[in-house]
């Protein structure tokens, strides 16, 4: 099952590369693959038994057997990764749907998009560190090409910047993975999670720091966020959707899976610096967002701000007395899911607007709601969810993060809450500037989203509303993967070692 989820897209890519000739056929194959992949992702998520917890649906084969180095082909999900697989399936389909109007070098485009899907799915589903790393690196290649061929503006510069930043991070990560291997003797994350990782062949703080650097770049955390606005602004719509929706979550996922779960003690020591970095990211991101006039750049900086909440939730493990705050961690994980759907939706809608109006410059837009009611509603939902309106999913995640953090870092939490206020400002100003206000002459003949363009927003709106109204849909899985389960396991493991 997991193998199918991960490798179905690449199989479709091979079919496209070898067999599909006409653009119609290419899009047909790709669409089928993404729909099927989404269905499989739902199945993986649904089959995950939250009562049992732990890693499930494990598939294990020896890949490189031998005395000294052993890699495995090892897939499996817990509540956290099952949720991420679901998110990737959903956003992959959304990205596919907004790519239906691609006309330039169609075959290559969809081959790269499908390859990207496989890589990201692989990151979330791998339990072997080498496989995880391979998938992590594999994601760079399609992204590099997607941004630099189908992007706009300074696309080659942005693609290179994206690549170099991520590559630096993953280079650090590789060293840490090797240190873990030679200390414990396995790449199996399940074993590593149960092992005593306090005496490694290199100082544990360095290993922790190198992992953190890799994931912080991906998340991204201030001050290593600078690649994100560039990559977002210049990437084609579908790639922005994938980037904001899924790729950033790789950073959060790694942070929780590796830094928190494997090094709980170091995480507790580092919690205060994490919290400070998180608050800087939240506030800095929000302030800079206020100044943006380009729609995509605006969402990109708002992502920096919103991903700060993930780090803040992670920092909440600094709770006194060694007990872990499960609410904050669950909140951080949920924030990843909700930010994925909300920002995905925002980028989809910006793509629709840009497609019709051929500009993303906010002062040029205005009064579009009258001409494109569907798009206006969808953008409103996304915006309101983004600013944390109760009843939509963003609210649940942020409140959980705050609940987890407040008992530990009261002042910092209060500062972070300021970020919510600022985000209300930039979201509402943007909505007014784009959709409302006086209708401009030049937009008199602009059309609403077409039927195809309506599908992707509809899917994402369903997800946003459903999680907002009934969060247990996702949080049940998350708390059996991170939240309480992780807290319990770490307490027993660390306690057992003492």
């Amino acid at each position: 099952m997991l193998t199918a989820v991960v490798f179905l897209p690449v199989a479709a890519a091979i079919i496209i590369a070898l067999a599909a000739r006409s653009p119609r056929a290419v899009k047909g194959v790709a669409l089928t693959a993404f729909v099927a992949d989404f269905a499989l992702a739902i199945a993986v998520f649904a089959r995950y038994n939250t009562g049992d917890g732990g890693f499930q649906q494990v598939e294990q084969y020896d890949w490189l057997p031998g005395e000294s180095v052993v890699f495995q082909y090892l897939l499996g999900v817990d509540g956290l990764s099952a949720t991420m697989v679901l998110l990737t399936g959903l956003l992959g389909l959304a990205a596919m749907l907004v790519s239906m109007n691609i006309q330039h070098r169609v075959r290559e485009y969809f081959v790269f998009l499908l390859l990207l899907q496989t890589a990201v799915m692989g990151v979330f589903a791998s339990l072997d560190f080498i496989l995880f790393f391979i998938m992590w690196e594999l994601e760079l290649v399609p992204m590099f090409f997607l941004i630099s061929i189908w992007g706009t503006g300074r696309k080659e510069y942005s693609a290179m910047k994206f690549l170099v930043f991520t590559f630096v991070g993953s280079a650090f990560m590789l060293v840490s993975i090797l240190v873990l291997y030679f200390s414990v003797g396995t790449f199996d994350m399940r074993v590593l999670l149960e092992s005593d990782l306090r005496n490694l062949v290199a100082p544990v703080t360095v290993v922790f720091g190198l992992f953190f650097a890799a994931f912080a770049i991906k998340l991204p955390v201030w001050p290593v966020h600078t690649w994100l606005p560039d990559a977002h602004t210049d990437a084609p719509t579908a790639v922005s959707v994938m980037l904001a929706g899924v790729l950033l979550k790789m950073g959060g996922y790694g942070l929780i899976r590796v830094n928190v779960a494997m090094f709980p003690e170091v995480t507790q020591q580092a919690a205060l610096p994490f919290a400070i970095l998180a608050v800087i990211s939240i506030l800095f991101g929000a302030m800079v967002t206020l100044r943006q006039t380009d729609l995509k750049r605006l969402i990109a900086y708002s992502s920096v701000s919103h991903m700060g909440y993930v780090l803040l939730g992670v920092a909440s493990v600094g709770a006194t007395g060694g007990a872990l705050s499960s609410v904050g961690l669950t909140g951080a994980a949920l924030q990843m899911f909700t930010h994925g759907t909300i920002t995905g939706l925002l980028f989809v809608m910006v793509g629709v607007v840009y497609d019709k109006a051929h500009t993303r410059h906010i002062p040029d837009l205005g009064g579009l709601a009258a001409r494109m009611p569907y798009a206006a509603v969808a953008l409103m939902v996304a915006g309101l969810a983004s600013l944390g309106l109760p009843g939509l999913s963003g609210f649940v995640a942020e409140i959980m993060v705050f609940l987890g953090t407040f008992p530990v870092y009261g002042v910092l939490t209060a500062l972070a809450a300021l970020g919510v206020v600022v985000s209300a400002g930039y979201i509402l100003w943007t909505l007014r500037g784009v959709m409302f206000g006086p209708a401009k002459e030049r937009w008199a003949h602009i059309g609403d989203a077409t039927l195809v363009e309506k599908v992707a927003p509809a899917l994402l709106i369903i997800a946003v509303v459903a999680v907002g109204v009934y969060p247990a849909l996702i949080t049940d899985a998350l708390s059996s993967g991170v939240g309480e389960a992780l807290a319990d396991r770490i307490t027993t493991v660390v306690g057992g070692l003492r």
């Binding site: 490189l64 031998g66 180095v69 290179m160 590789l174 060293v175 062949v201």
Partner: protein
């Protein structure tokens, strides 16, 4: 010396025979294609003998009886103990012959530029390969020196083969700098001989082991100077900084197949000799030279990558890139000295694996460059513009090999770096692994520049770029190797482990 030595030398002897045949065929026929065919088909002979020798070691061939000094199943010494047939030597025979076969295949497309001297071209390249395989098999300093010269001198002639300004310059530079480095190597050998009284590696090892462990590395200043000078001599051969001055000019001026051959086979043979000499003769002092090679590794990686960024000629750029790769490989040498003290061979195993993966990768890159540059008549990176459209498959394969050079999975380069850096971490050299990965990031910049030029810039003309079936075969097999080693590293990894059975007494 007895007749069994002929059997132990059969791969080299048959190779020399094929080389002579190439010269002869060239004399009697005007159809130069025969020369190439003879050399290519003739390669089957040495490969066959290599396999038979492997069988002799493993016991499923028994052409000669037990030899004096033979370690059953591990090594058979011959010719007064100066040469040894062990799996390590055989591994390098396979590697060199494999690279040679691909280079010969790729040379077919280059024939128009060789003029009427085709017989000499093929003969010399074969002879040089003989020198390289001997280099991996010697366990005595003088034979090692002779093998080194046999490997290098034909390459000097080959570097100057195009007989234009640049090519002549390449030949002269290679000759002069090569002579200096040989002199340094020889001087180092003389010092070591003077202290230990023997040119046999095993005897030197005994002397190093018994030298009172004082404050001086290697036991005495004379030995230290000798070891460092020998490292310098090998450093020239493998193109490590600071002995790399010859690389860019020679790589740029030589015929491209020779450049490819130099960058793969010659480097591999240099590493074969370096690793054997240092692990065997200076094995007891491994903590001392581990530091030396770690420093050389850092210098090579960093200088190679930094200077490569500024290149506009693709052959020069690949030249600097091979310097950087020599640096990565030196990590494997430095990691021999496992400070964990378990006598681990992960460093050498990683190095042999890396050499195999690097051979197919670099050959694929050079073959794609030959194919494209032969049509456009230029080695400038800017003339690769739009190749993504003019030659989709060539550009794709070149991209794959460049990704492999960066070390992005799922390619051979990634697996190689994984094993090398892993060995470094295990040998308590995590900082060296960190320098290595940072350098990989640095290298991504200039490799991807070529990808960028090929895919994102407008072509100068719309004319399709094609290449001959022979070159396709060479490029195709090398690229398949890149993908295979990257996705199924097990066979090569096991082969490398086999090659190190009983190596250097560990």
């Amino acid at each position: 010396m007895n007749s069994s030595a002929l059997w132990l030398l059969s791969p080299e002897i048959s190779l020399a025979f094929v080389a002579m045949l190439a010269f002869l065929v060239d004399l009697v026929t005007r159809r130069k294609g025969y020369v190439a065919a003879v050399s290519l088909v003739g390669l089957v002979l040495p490969l066959l003998f290599t396999t038979l020798l492997w069988g002799e070691l493993s016991g499923w061939v028994n052409a000669i009886g037990p030899q004096p000094g033979e370690v059953a199943g591990v090594s058979i010494p011959g010719i007064f103990g100066t040469l040894v047939v062990d799996r390590y030597a055989l591994f390098f025979k396979y590697l060199v012959f494999g690279a040679l076969g691909l280079v010969l295949l790729a040379s077919l497309d280059y024939r128009s530029r060789l003029g009427r001297l085709e017989g000499e071209y093929y003969g010399l390249i074969l002879l040089s390969a003989g020198g390289m395989t001997l280099l991996a098999a010697t366990v005595e300093l003088l034979s090692l020196y002779i093998a080194l010269e046999l490997a290098t001198l034909p390459l000097v002639a080959l570097a100057a083969f195009l007989r234009d300004g640049r090519s002549t310059e390449a030949g002269i530079k290679f000759l002069l700098l090569g002579a200096i480095s040989s002199a340094v190597l020889l001087f180092g050998m003389a010092l070591v001989f003077g202290v230990t009284g023997s040119t046999y590696l095993s005897d030197i090892a005994g002397a190093v082991a018994t030298a009172t462990p004082g404050d001086v590395p290697f036991g005495s200043y004379a030995m230290l100077a000798g070891a460092v000078m020998m490292a310098a001599g090998f450093g020239f051969k493998i193109a490590a900084v600071p002995f790399q001055m010859w690389v860019p000019d020679v790589y740029e001026g030589s015929p491209t197949p020779i450049t490819a051959y130099l960058s793969v086979a010659s480097k591999a043979a240099g590493f074969a000799a370096l690793l054997r000499v240092f692990t065997t003769a200076f094995g007891p002092a491994d903590l001392h030279w581990s530091v030396l090679f770690a420093a050389l590794a850092v210098a090579s990686m960093t200088v190679g990558n930094l200077v490569a960024v500024a290149q506009s000629n693709i052959k020069r750029m690949l030249g600097y890139s091979t310097i950087a790769h020599a640096g990565y490989m030196l990590i494997g040498v430095a990691a021999v000295a496992g400070r964990t003290g378990d006598g681990s061979l992960q460093g050498p195993q990683g190095l042999l694996f890396y050499l195999g993966g690097y051979a197919v990768t670099n050959l694929a890159a050079f073959f794609a460059v030959i194919a494209i540059a032969n049509r456009t008549g230029s080695d400038q990176i800017s003339d690769f513009a739009g190749m993504g459209r003019r030659a989709p498959w060539l550009a794709f394969l070149l991209t794959v090999s460049l990704l492999s050079l960066i070390g992005i999975p799922p390619t051979a380069g990634f697996m190689g770096k994984l094993f090398l850096f892993g060995a470094a971490v295990n040998a308590d050299l995590a900082w060296l692994a960190l320098v290595g990965v940072i350098n990989s990031v640095l290298s991504a910049y200039y490799y991807l520049r070529i990808v960028k030029v090929m895919y994102f810039q407008e072509p100068a003309s719309q004319e399709r770029v094609t290449c001959s079936p022979a070159l396709w075969a060479a490029l195709g097999s090398a690229s398949l190797g890149v993908a295979f080693v990257g996705m199924a590293p097990w066979p090569l990894f096991a082969f490398a482990a086999q090659a190190l059975l009983g190596f250097a007494g560990r």
